[in-house]
Structure formats: structure tokens, C-alpha cells
Amino acid sequence: MLRTNKITPWLFLTPMLLLLIFAFGYPLVSIFNFSFRRIRGATGPFIGFENYRQVFKDDVFRETVGHNLLLLIAVPIMVIISILVAVVLYERLKGWQLYRSILFIPYILAVPIVGVVFSNILQLNGILNEFLRSVGLGRLGLDWIGNPDLTLWSVMGVIIWREVGFGIVLFLARLLSLNEELIDAGKVDGANWWQRLWYVIIPELSTVIEFYVVISIITMLAWVFSYIYTISRGGPGNATQVMELYVYNYAFRNQLPGIASAVAVLLFLVTIILIIPIFRLRSGDELEETR
């Protein structure tokens, strides 16, 4: 540690503090404040829990929450795919680095680009259905983003397509940082591939898996706006309405920032609850470091 006077550290911290108060501090305080007011322009009268009552009374909101919860199904799917692919890549088959580079490409592409591309591919007369017809699977050719029962699942597929590369690279990076002897020890014991995966590799990955699960849950609940906005705009009807779009519509379409803030508060609280486990992991790490 540097020996400094009491003021110097704060001189170095002040610009960051100002910026974070602007971008996080003020807004996080304000959403609580706004959520109890009927906002017109920049502020408005205090109305207690009226905004929350309205939100919970709204059938569309309940449907919306249901959609976000349904998207959570993608989380275990992504975890399983990424672990399997990462473990296979870890065995350093010929060309594994090339495989890794290609599998990571979707994650480099911007979500709006991915969204627009898939909204074209998935059209009723689009490329996917034409392709299915040509390989004799024409009966599988469905109205992927026109049928209300199907659209959310299509969006989920697109999300998995783009996001799974991150999981693969994350788990692979963790595996590569592990002690190889440990994993090889399983081979000596005569454990087969699946046993080694289950008893040796997955326990070693557990902290990263927990991290990835939490991040993915938060993504599904509060970070899918760009997918929805570019693929389906929440439609058909309200079939793919999600909480972020609900906030966006109430704040900037319906001009009801109070309602939007109430939903933002709910999203914020959920996020806070979800990051507690990561915190526990992190502080555990730090303890080990100082020891």
C-alpha cells in the first residue's frame, strides 16, 4: 500500500464517484421515488402504492412476467450445452482452437443484427422453412414468429444460439486454468468419460457454473430487450411481451414513467437478490487470496 494522506485517495476516486452517482446512484434512488408518484414531466404528486397496485392488477403484466419466467428454461439448456462442448474442446482434439473461435462468433455479433437476421430467416416463407421442405421435413415448417404460441420459443432459440458461445468459452477458460493432473487422475482410476465429467470436472467447475447460471438468469429476466425488439416487438399481440419492453412502453409510449419505475424497482430488487450468491463466491475468493 502507498502511504498517502487522507485526501489523496478521494481525489483519485472523485471522478468515478461523480460518474457512478450520475449513471447509477441518482437513477436508482429516483425509480423508488418515481414509483410512488404520478409523474408528469419531471415529477408529480405522491400516490403511495397506486402504481404497484396498477401493475399487479394488469393482466398483461402478469403475462409478461410469465414470459420472462418461461425464458428461464433456456438457462439449464445453455449450461448443459456449454459444459459438454467445453469439456470436449478441453480434450484438445485436432483443431480445437478453430472450433472454439467459430463457436464464439455469435457472441461477437450485435444482438440487433442477430435479431433482424433471424426475423428474416424465420418468416413463414423464409429460409428455414424452405430448407426444411427441401430436406423432406416440410411438416416441421411452422410460422415461427407469426404464431403466438410459438414466437417466444423461437426467440428463446435465437437467444441460446447467440449466448451459448459465452458459456463454452467461460467453462473452457476455467478448465484450462485447472491442474491437469487432477483431471487425469480420473482416467487412472478407470472412470469412464461420463463418470469423470460428473465426479471430477463438474465439481471443479461449480463456482463458474454458479456464476454463469446467475448471469444467465439475470439476462433472461432483464437483458433480452434487443432480441424481442428486433424479432417480434413483443408480438404477435402480447405473446412475447417482456418486462423490459413493458418498462420501455410505459415510459416512452404511454408516457407513464411512474408505472415504468415501479416495474424497474421490481427488476432491480430481483437483480439484487440474484447477485447475492455471486457476492458470497467473490468474497470467498478474496479471503483465500489474502491468506
Partner: protein, 285 residues
């Protein structure tokens, strides 16, 4: 199935299972590449060619979509706007975060650990939560529809990650190096500017890559703060473009292809930094 390398079951089994693994990976790669292949071939088809044959090679090879896309979308303006936002916010965030990370990593002060924890936690708060107050605040300050307003917001949103990454990196630089500079009478400023930052090349590159990608790829913040046609960054531009050419798939696809080229090129040359950077928040070291 076992790929037992102790040689009990011999080479044949091993190459068979490794064949299985290759097939598994190639299947994954096809799933990744097929949509990209569709995008590229469709971009070079005429509308008639597309309706007649959706997934074969373009015949004839048609480049007219480039012209149509450039006429229908203001690609150069969008690129320029995105570049201004990315450069501005990344520079601002880097400067601010380097100073703060120096204090977190190398100075003693009250609330240090709890403050660092809070800053780290902010990484995960979704931007949609802050959006309404930010919009109202910037409106009051007459800063919506200005690059400055958006740059401040983006810089703020990426700063928690930057501070987290740089603090960890600064901690890993041996203290002896700093100590010897101290003996030469260097000030805190000089230690940061002349010693820590020059040694932080890889961390800085990682940070710049991740933050640039974040700002470049954002849709939500830009949609709210920069709705005007001539201020639109690329992501807002292509979203509007995509719905305008909803019925002209080849032009829409060409538009998306053009929009993705800058990042794909960067990935091609700086892949290491992308992969390192994007997992940096999760895996230590």
C-alpha cells in the same frame, strides 16, 4: 464409451470416440454457421433469385443490394455516430476508472472494500432499471439528443467493469516496482501514469475491447436517448432499416452483413482479446 488413454482398449476405440466428438463439434459448428451462411448468400441474391431459390448459391451473383442498402440506410452516418459514442465513452470511462482503480488497489482509505464491492455489483444491474430517471434527468438538462448526454450515460454504465478489471490488474503488479519509484521521489500521479498504466497494456486492451463492444452493440439506451435520424448509432439505424426492408429480405440481409463487418474484422485480428476480455469478469487471473 471410454477414451481410456492407458491403452487398454487400444487405438481403434479411441479414434472411434474421438470421431464421435468431432461429429458432435461439427454439428455445433453447422448450427452456428448455417444462419451466417444464409445471411451471406441471401445478401448477394436479387429479389427474384431469392424467391425462386432460398438457400442455394446466388445465381447470378448480384451486388445491387449494396447500393440499395446504402441508399435506404445512412450507413456512413450511423457508423460515424457509433464511433463517436464508443470512442468518447470508452476514453472517459478509462480515465476515470484508472484513477479509481489505482486508489482501490494501492491506497488505504475508509470504506475501501465495501465501496469496491458495491461498484462491482453495479456491473450486473440491467440498464433498463436506470433508463427512466436518466431520460428525465437528461431532458431537464437539455441533453437528450446530444452525443454528450449519451456518452456520459455509456461511460457510467461501463465504468463498474473497468474499475473491477483494472483494480485486479493493478493489484497483480509487484509492489517492489512501485516502491523503487517511490524512493526516486515519484508522486502518486507519476506512479499511475508512468509505471502502472504502461505495465497494464493487456488489461487496457481487454477493457477497451469489452467496453467498445458494449457501447457499439447497445440498442436500448440509444433508442431512448438518440432517436433523431441524424444522431442514430448503427444499432438503432439497422433496427429501423430491418423493419423497413421487412419485405425485401436480400436487402435487409445485406444491411445486416454490412453492419457486422467491423466487429467481425476486429474479431478476426484480435480474437485473443475478445475471448480473454469477455471471460475476464468471471474467471480470475
Amino acid at each position: 464409451m471410454s477414451d481410456d488413454s492407458m491403452g487398454r482398449k487400444g487405438r481403434a476405440t479411441r479414434s472411434l470416440t474421438s470421431l464421435g466428438k468431432h461429429i458432435f463439434l461439427i454439428f455445433g459448428i453447422l448450427l452456428v454457421l448455417l444462419p451466417l451462411y444464409f445471411t451471406v448468400i441471401t445478401s448477394f441474391k436479387s429479389k427474384q433469385n431469392y424467391s425462386a431459390d432460398k438457400f442455394g448459391f446466388p445465381s447470378p451473383f448480384y451486388t445491387g443490394n449494396i447500393e440499395t442498402a446504402l441508399r435506404g440506410g445512412r450507413y456512413f452516418v450511423w457508423f460515424k455516430n457509433s464511433a463517436i459514442l464508443a470512442v468518447g465513452s470508452v476514453l472517459l470511462s478509462t480515465a476515470v476508472s484508472a484513477m479509481a482503480a489505482f486508489a482501490f488497489a494501492r491506497m488505504r482509505f475508509r470504506f475501501r472494500n465495501s465501496m469496491l464491492s458495491i461498484v462491482t455489483a453495479l456491473m450486473i444491474v440491467p440498464p433498463v432499471v436506470m433508463l427512466v430517471p436518466l431520460f428525465l434527468l437528461l431532458t431537464t438538462l437539455h441533453m437528450t439528443s446530444t452525443f454528450w448526454g449519451a456518452i456520459l450515460v455509456y461511460a457510467g454504465l461501463v465504468t463498474p467493469f473497468s474499475v473491477y478489471l483494472l483494480t485486479n490488474f493493478f493489484k497483480s503488479i509487484p509492489f517492489e516496482i512501485i516502491e523503487s519509484a517511490l524512493l526516486d521521489g515519484a508522486s502518486s500521479w507519476n506512479i499511475l501514469l508512468k509505471i502502472l498504466l504502461p505495465l497494464s497494456g493487456p488489461a487496457l486492451v481487454t477493457m477497451i475491447v469489452v467496453n467498445t463492444l458494449w457501447v457499439w452493440n447497445d440498442l436500448l439506451v440509444a433508442l431512448v436517448l438518440l432517436p433523431q435520424d441524424d444522431l442514430r448509432p448503427l444499432m438503432v439505424g439497422i433496427t429501423v432499416f430491418g423493419s423497413r426492408y421487412n419485405n425485401d429480405v436480400p436487402v435487409a440481409m445485406m444491411g445486416m452483413l454490412m453492419a457486422s463487418i467491423p466487429m467481425l474484422l476486429l474479431y478476426l485480428f484480435g480474437q485473443r482479446y475478445f475471448i480473454q476480455g469477455l471471460v475476464a469478469g468471471a474467471v480470475k487471473g
